[in-house]
Amino acid sequence: MLENILTGFANSFIPINFLLIIAGLIGGIIIGALPGLTATMGVALMVPITFAMNPISGLIMLGAIYSGAIYGGSNSAILINTPGTPSSVATTFDGWPMTKQGNAAGALNASLFASAFGGVIGTLFLLFLAAPMAQLALKFGAPEFFWLCIFGLSTIAAMVPGNVVKGLMSGGLGMLISTIGLDPLEGARRFTFGAYSLVQGIEVIPAMIGLFSFSQVIVLVGSNNKFIADYKAKKGAAMLVAKTLLKSAKANLMRSSIIGTFVGILPGAGGEIAGIISYNEAKRWDKNKANFGKGAIEGVVASEAANNATIGGSLIPMLTLGIPGSAVAAVIMGALLAHGIQPGFKIFANNAELAYSFIVSLIVVNIVMVFVGVHLIKGTAKVLNVPTSYIGVAIVALSVIGSYTIRNSIVDVMVMIFFGLVGYFGGRVGFDTGAMALGIILGPIAEDNLSRSISLAGAEGSVFKVFFTHPISLLLIILTLISVLTPLLMAKYRAKKEAVANDKA
């Protein structure tokens, strides 16, 4: 194995492959940063090009694009409050406030370092623990997925303290809207309100571009501010952030990366869910909970470390079992198959050089990403120096084309505009766009797995057995209860403490 790993490193540094890594990263970061161009699309578009390449070079390039795109999504999340890929939803929660406070450079660098760190941890799991992790992925059935979604939704309670009811309502509205289209169980048309075009359902990405990005443009344009935020390039910003992270965010980085890897191995749960769960966990374990949502660097770190860690995670079941853990992993598997390489545990024996070179190259990719990223950040942050009058309309143009290209549907563009208005006016009556996005993302997965669990319960003859006896389900239920109850208990505890303090005074 050591020999294979060394060969892998050697392969990554062959000039042509190294060049492909850099090109893939830059291309990936740009694709990721543009809202609507997702990691899946970026990788899929490049697959035909790999047909003409040696498979190792091809895979190395696809891995670089994948990593770059997942990281790149954070750039637009931080700079214009628009997750470039769905994976960066949770990055907006604190990244955007940091930008508004004039600390865009801090957020951008934190996201870069965290992404690279998460990417390396995910890859190490892939390299050394692929077999047990793959078995774990298989233990995750429909009821486990259902509880995972409920756990994800429970973060809403913590997300909008002081406004929990409206937060839950926003999540409920999001989930309800996500049921438009064909239902997962019988394939029946639902809630199309007479418009056949709605049968394709509400696609997550246009809805999110609308909620975050178009609504933000309306705010910006109406704000009379000349610029989005103050931004002056500072020398040594990267070093400063690196030092801060080393000093105070080690536990956060590690925890988020591990969460990301675990979520990554599950087919059907990707970077967005990993980011949201890690964000919530980071908040739970942090001493200064109140800072979250107001520009806490820890929030950015948690979300970004987790979503890049999903990359290694999602490749684990793909390589070992032929079951891709994410849409991008599915595309990469398609590329493997087109080269005549069958995934499965045998791949490590029959195609050892290819498998290990690909995995090891991901470590190289993540290290190179830091150097590429530090330079790109200097350029991308300049967006903030462009007056809002220009940025605003440019974001709208990007949002329109981004919503369209997801599946070449003009309906999606209208959905984007609609959600922009929902986000803007909803925000004014206290609805929370983050909670609504969460509902839209998790709603379909929750329902799909709920109805499947009910089918299974029918065969087992017991609802209780299916929902409440599997160990992973129980763990998730306990976590959900903790997550819902801690904010309540904390509030009580604090009130009591204050009362005591008042008594003394």
Binding site: G172, I401, G430
Partner: protein, 151 residues
């Protein structure tokens, strides 16, 4: 907006949406309509709670953030312009509409007023952005863009 007003509005919206979905769901089978129905009931109950909270509260409390000075005219002009833009994308084509939208939009919004020099700046800006979009989407990625009469 006061907290009271925003509570009442939020409650109303949530109830309206839930009822609209409920009416649409009448003809669906029970299992297909199960989760939507649960959500609808949840939204109606919380909506009623919001209405009650809105009506009994004093109403003086200041509500959500961002109340300050919103320039409604600018905001609404851009929203309307975007509607026209999307219509243009459908019937005229993406690149032409984008160019026009960027040109007029940025010119209208710029702070120096509708001067000729600002128009020139907007012209450069919209040409550059449309060009970059064309380069990325059509030349490099070969991704189809909506094409109407033109491109």
């Amino acid at each position: 907006m006061t907290k009271r007003k925003s509570d009442i509005l939020a409650g109303l919206v949530s109830i309206l949406v839930a009822v609209a979905f409920m009416v649409q769901g009448f003809k669906l089978s029970d299992r297909v309509n199960a989760m939507p129905l649960v959500l609808e009931i949840f939204l109606i109950v919380t909506g009623i709670y919001m209405l009650i909270r809105g009506f009994i509260s004093k109403g003086a409390e200041k509500g959500e953030e961002g109340e300050a000075d919103i320039n409604w005219v600018r905001a609404m002009v851009i929203v309307l312009a975007t509607f026209v833009y999307v219509a243009g994308v459908i019937y005229i084509g993406f690149y032409v509409s984008t160019f026009v939208y960027l040109l007029l939009g940025s010119w209208y919004l710029n702070e120096k007023g509708l001067t000729l020099s600002a128009l020139m700046l907007s012209l450069i800006f919209s040409t550059a952005i449309s060009g970059v979009l064309y380069l990325i989407f059509t030349v490099l990625l070969l991704v189809p863009t909506p094409a109407g009469l033109f491109f």
